[in-house]
Symmetry: C2
Subunit: 183 residues, 2 copies
Amino acid sequence: MTIYSVADGKKIEDSLKVDEWEEAVIDLFLNAANSFGLAKSYGQIYGLLFCRDTPLSMDEIMELLQISKGSASQGLRALRQLGAVSTVFASGDRKERFVAEIRLRKLVSGFLREQADPHIEKGVARLKQIEDLLGNTNSKNSQIRGVRRHEILSGWHRQMSRLLPWVKMIVGKSDRLPQKNKD
Amino acid sequence: MTIYSVADGKKIEDSLKVDEWEEAVIDLFLNAANSFGLAKSYGQIYGLLFCRDTPLSMDEIMELLQISKGSASQGLRALRQLGAVSTVFASGDRKERFVAEIRLRKLVSGFLREQADPHIEKGVARLKQIEDLLGNTNSKNSQIRGVRRHEILSGWHRQMSRLLPWVKMIVGKSDRLPQKNKD
DNA sequence: CAGTTTGTTCAAAAATCCTTGAACAAACTG
DNA sequence: CAGTTTGTTCAAGGATTTTTGAACAAACTG
């Protein structure tokens, strides 16, 4: 339940309104989510939590961002899955509260784990399938062409597999300076 | 104009039909395009050209993939923009023909140039905007919090800027083994 | 246990993105 | 120049994705 002052309708508590700079940050993450192939509301939710020091509950998030229960619930689930938010249980309170993960390395590796790795996995199966279909090919020319293409794709696949660990490495470097990480 | 045999309805010329393995490759690129935020038809077009040795014209692409003129035209434009296909003018023929760029390094750098670099650019402006809005902030606490967040975002921005050149490098390594590249 | 609070699910509505094809422009051809 | 060929553009329609909110389940509370 949000508390309003009777006089001017403005919310009394700071934490129950979104500051101007916060709106800008939220919008930044909205756009980022978008271009990462995630729903905009996910970006908004992450952005809001990113701005805050104290954990927020689902109602607070709904209230602050003006989004529906469904969006909030689904968004928080997805973000948790990505390792971008984590839950916190306030003592003596039943509802769970959420905080943003702000270590870039964690965010990137979570994203890669959920989005890139599965594609690399599926790639193996797809390459196999193409290889199989090359058996069915009648035209000798087409078959030769197909074998070449299969080789190229296999090379790409290998390269991409190599790239990912590097990305995780490089982004990790000096993320928040000296800070021991126990994954 | 496609040539069909009267007997069984199959196309007579090899180049005017899509082999089974080619369909699989096209589907692979369709999916890839999808998860890179590009329209599916762009993936199909690239996939088809990737399979072929000889350049294809726009009608051939439309015919082979069963897509509309609009899709073909827009798709080819976007792919050209990304550096993923290039045009070839057949001697003694008016229509332009297209071939796929198959050097992974080129594909990746084109993609980063068109998709990632602009975001990095816009990031600068966004950070500036947030900085400005922090001036408007009344609550001292919120302002301090905002400054911290701005610092974090600036750090991320720096890291991402550093990352991109590395990605281009790593993917370039031994792409097609010894092959001089004159960009 | 009846009532409340918290969070999930999912079908339908809304918003967004992609494709189509007709109209157009540009360049050639006889 | 009238006609053809080639390719672009863009509004309308189709397809897909996202959001909403009502119905539900689970866990607590008095």
